[in-house]
């Protein structure tokens, strides 16, 4: 009985993929080459098998991977529908992401010194910021891409995972850090604010907001010095107002949020095009291939959700939001069940990362909150985003397993 239950969502996902992709191929209306068919069949098989294998090798949570592969499938279908070439590329990225997921899972599981590497994470993060400024390339108004040869990636995607490791290793050993230095929590806050300031200088407001939310949430749960939490809130209000007054790009985003129709030709262009798409889709969508996602700017990455709403309707949109909600819920559940504090905070950090990132971009494209550019985890096109998301997912998978607490480990060591 239990086996049947844990199997059925996997089969449902399989069914969804087959139906979605068949519809897509019919809609394209011409013979598809064998390579594409092969890759598509391969991916469906990989996802199905991965979900199957995972139940065999991991005693942890099997739903988080299932949810993310569902999200990834929706993303592939949509991206392939808009641009076949990119769709195939996304297929490759997802496949690599799944490999990376298993790789991360084994590495993080086998090596048990992660909480002692605080300085390495810190140095790594600053190093990545440094190369962003040296090799940085401007895309969509933000300097957050690094090109080295033919290879380009977004360092901030790696830094956000490092940030979670920094926070976890600090708060799981906070007594020791406090002994070492009474003001260590203030230093930590200074470090996080330096990250946020650097992101702000890169004009990557979305990631800056994301870093703040991750930090604020972890701090809220684990900081014993409650005064700091109020300082943190007060500071962000002050910086927010200063940012608005001093920087034009902040002001523009805010104005485009308040009344995009007034600036429809320029600042409000992106968001209004997104709203047109969502409005046209209605509740059930125009149907796959029948809408005009090509009218939406940056549709593959930031605005993928608008394209999904146009063609699949806000019912699918609401479904995606609910999947993220369930994902966050599972993540928090994993954290609460985890006895080892380092892995507990790690699980929280990763759940908050996905929750906050999806909320910021979803809220942005539907104009509930000001729009800041971020990818929608697992759905948007992009190598850096997909790979870092699957890496984080691999870590979360480890966290979902039973790990002995530090005290228990110490006892075992004795």
């Amino acid at each position: 009985m239990k086996r049947l239950l844990s199997q059925s969502p996997r089969n449902l996902l399989f069914l969804f993929q087959v139906l979605g992709i068949t519809l897509l191929l019919i809609n394209k209306g011409r013979a598809t080459d064998r390579l594409t068919l092969g890759i598509v069949a391969g991916l469906i098989l990989v996802i199905y098998l991965s979900n199957y294998i995972l139940t065999k090798i991991s005693k942890g949570d099997n739903y988080i991977f299932l949810i993310t592969t569902m999200l990834a499938s929706i993303g592939i279908i949509m991206i392939y529908r808009i641009n076949e070439g990119l769709g195939i590329k996304q297929l490759v990225w997802i496949s690599m992401g799944i490999i990376l997921f298993f790789f991360t899972y084994f590495i993080v599981k086998k090596i048990r010194i992660w909480e002692k590497l605080s300085y390495i994470y810190l140095i790594g993060a600053y190093f990545l910021f440094l190369i962003t400024f040296i090799f940085g390339d401007k895309r969509h108004g933000a300097i957050n891409w690094v090109n080295i040869g033919n290879f380009s990636f977004q360092p901030s995607e790696i830094i956000k995972v490092l940030l979670i490791f920094i926070l976890s290793s600090y708060y799981s050993n906070k007594e020791r850090w406090k002994e070492f230095n009474k003001y260590s929590s203030y230093y930590l806050m200074g470090i996080v604010y330096s990250f946020i300031a650097l992101l702000f200088l890169q004009r990557d407001l979305g990631t800056a907001m994301l870093f703040y939310i991750i930090f604020a949430a972890i701090q809220f749960i684990y900081e014993d010095d409650r005064k700091l939490i109020f300082i943190n809130i007060a500071l962000i209000v002050v910086f927010g107002i200063l940012g608005y007054l001093l920087f034009d790009h902040v002001k523009i985003r805010f104005q485009a949020w308040i009344n995009p129709w007034r600036y429809i030709e320029r600042q409000g262009y992106q968001i209004t095009q997104s709203l047109f798409a969502i409005a046209e889709g209605g509740f059930f969508g125009k149907g796959l291939g029948l809408g005009h996602p090509d009218f939406i700017p940056v549709v593959y990455t930031d605005f993928i959700f608008s394209a999904i709403c146009e063609e699949m309707g806000i019912f699918t949109g609401i479904g995606i939001i609910m999947l993220f909600m369930i994902f966050v819920y599972r993540g928090f559940k994993i954290a609460i069940a985890q006895r080892n504090e380092f892995y507990r905070i790690l699980a929280l950090g990763i759940s908050i990362l996905f929750g906050a990132q999806s909320f910021i971009i979803l809220g942005g494209v539907i104009k509930m909150i000001p729009l800041t550019g971020l990818t929608l985890p697992f759905i948007s096109y992009g190598g850096s985003s997909i790979l870092s998301s699957f890496t984080a997912l691999g870590i979360l998978q480890v966290c979902s397993e039973e790990i002995k607490s530090k005290e228990e480990l110490d006892e075992a060591g004795d």
Binding site: T272, A279, H292, I318, M325, V328, F359, I366
Partner: protein, 468 residues
């Protein structure tokens, strides 16, 4: 430990709340905002079909072509045969300036695309549509031209309609603009302080002045045991403010009819305090003030903004259509229609039929009762009083030989110091064929001398020429 779990759950609750708010906002957007957002002319989807479908024509009630599209060297050209005459009703459809008027409201019908996307696709698979539907208006082109001629050089609006069926025969708003030369005139149009783009008939909010007394008089009749007699001395003090009649003329011993015929301010201001705000508000709302009027074009709601407490002076001012009372000309045409139609206001109709390319009627607008303002007996009493207004009162310039005309004049004082001239009425009084509202904006003349003769021309022409 326990505290840690508690805090984790607080953060989790925060996230759940955030996600649920996304769902709520998205649903709210889809239900309440989407239809307006979709029709924004910057939405490129609106123009895709334009290239492949011949946009339908507009016809008047007799089938006269007003607007049509034709294929010129592979692209469709829209021809507006009467550039100015229908600038507010039909509006325009240009890529650069978007769509307005019926061109906007009936866009899907004109292109023969269904509101339902799936249905559309299926239909296109079976038989691809390349020709849109035609729209037949209730407008009489001749009366529309005549109304515009009468209003030429003035600011204001005329609405003429059938009070029984709700069909609008003419709807003119001045100043207007030429939709054929938008490109050349755009700057001048948008910078003109008189705002030619606004359809004054549906969007213009005017102080009604004495034409509002028709509504107040209805409220007086609804009040039980009201002493209708009054001794007019030319002035009256209500709540410390002195109201006076036109030229402070004392009308002497009068009743409600005498008060309406002579447009006696002191009568209405004094009696309104006895009747009370609630009843007047109630009747005003039955005459569709404070209400949205369903129409083929967007209509601004007329205002009788006295839901809360008001003092005697404010009520007295409102009873003679001054103060904060504001009405649209269309609403006042409906007021006249309501009295003409035995106390029932019908929905105004501008689009008579949507006709497919092969001549089939796809959709037609049917007469619908919007509101019952009073019973037929009281409506008849008001009507007789309005007939007297035209026979022997302030509205004698609307008199037509051998036809009984009912009407009411108004001269509304405005903050600019220049008054609006009003006339509302209908004819023939005993079997009404046409109801009319005329407003001349900042005309600085009385309604009886300037608006009544225009209304007369409209009514006379409509009775003689329009076939139902």
């Amino acid at each position: 430990m326990k505290q840690e779990i508690k805090r984790i759950i607080i953060v989790l609750a925060g996230f759940c709340l955030a996600f649920i708010s996304l769902i709520v906002y998205l649903s709210y957007f889809q239900v309440f905002k989407a239809s307006t957002v979709k029709n924004n002319s910057y939405n490129k989807r609106l123009w895709i079909n334009e290239a492949s479908i011949l946009r339908g024509s507009f016809l008047d009630r007799n089938g006269k072509i007003l607007v049509y599209s034709e294929n010129k060297d592979g692209t469709y050209i829209r021809n507006y045969l009467y550039g100015r005459l229908y600038s507010h009703i039909i509006g325009y459809s240009y890529r650069e300036y978007g769509k307005t008027g019926l061109e906007l409201q009936y866009n899907n019908a004109l292109l023969n695309i269904s509101e339902n996307a799936t249905l559309n696709e299926l239909k296109n698979l079976v038989l691809p549509s390349t020709v849109g539907n035609n729209i037949k208006l209730t407008i009489s082109h001749d009366l529309q031209s005549k109304a515009r001629e009468l209003l030429k050089g003035k600011k204001g609006s005329i609405v003429a309609m059938n009070p029984i069926s709700g069909e609008v025969y003419a709807m003119v708003s001045m100043p207007d603009f030429d939709v054929n030369t938008l490109k050349e005139d755009w700057k001048a149009i948008t910078e003109n302080p008189d705002s030619p783009l606004i359809n004054r008939a549906t969007q213009g909010l005017y102080v009604p002045g004495s034409v509002f007394k028709v509504i107040t008089a209805t409220a007086f009749l609804e009040k039980e045991n009201l002493d209708m007699n009054y001794e007019c001395t030319g002035t009256a003090n209500v709540g410390g403010y002195e109201f006076s009649d036109y030229n402070k003329k004392a009308h002497g011993e009068i009743d409600l009819e005498g008060a309406l015929v002579n447009s006696c301010n002191t009568y209405f201001t004094t009696k309104s305090v006895e009747v009370g705000k609630d009843l007047i508000l109630n009747i005003a709302e039955r005459f569709l003030l404070n209400n949205e009027i369903p129409f083929d074009l967007p209509v601004k709601s007329s205002q009788f903004p006295y839901k809360g407490f008001i003092d005697k002076t404010e009520l007295a001012a409102a009873s003679i259509g001054q103060g904060k009372v504001l009405v649209t000309p269309l609403n006042m045409a409906l007021v006249a229609s309501g009295i003409a139609n035995g106390g029932q206001i019908v929905k105004p109709i501008l689009v008579k039929e949507i006709i497919s390319n092969d001549g089939k009627v796809i959709r037609s607008n049917k007469t619908e009762i919007l509101s019952t303002v009073t019973d037929p007996v009281k409506a008849n009493l008001i009507k007789e009083m309005m007939v007297e207004v035209v026979n022997s009162g302030t509205g004698t310039k609307a008199r037509i030989k051998n036809i009984k005309v009912a009407g009411k004049t108004g001269t509304a004082e405005t903050s600019s110091g220049k008054s609006h001239a009003w006339f509302i009425g209908f004819a023939p009084a005993d079997s009404p064929k046409v109801a009319v509202a005329v407003v001349l904006e900042e005309e600085s003349a009385t309604g009886g001398s300037s608006a009544a003769p225009i209304a007369r021309e409209i009514m006379l022409y409509a009775i003689n020429n329009i076939k139902e």
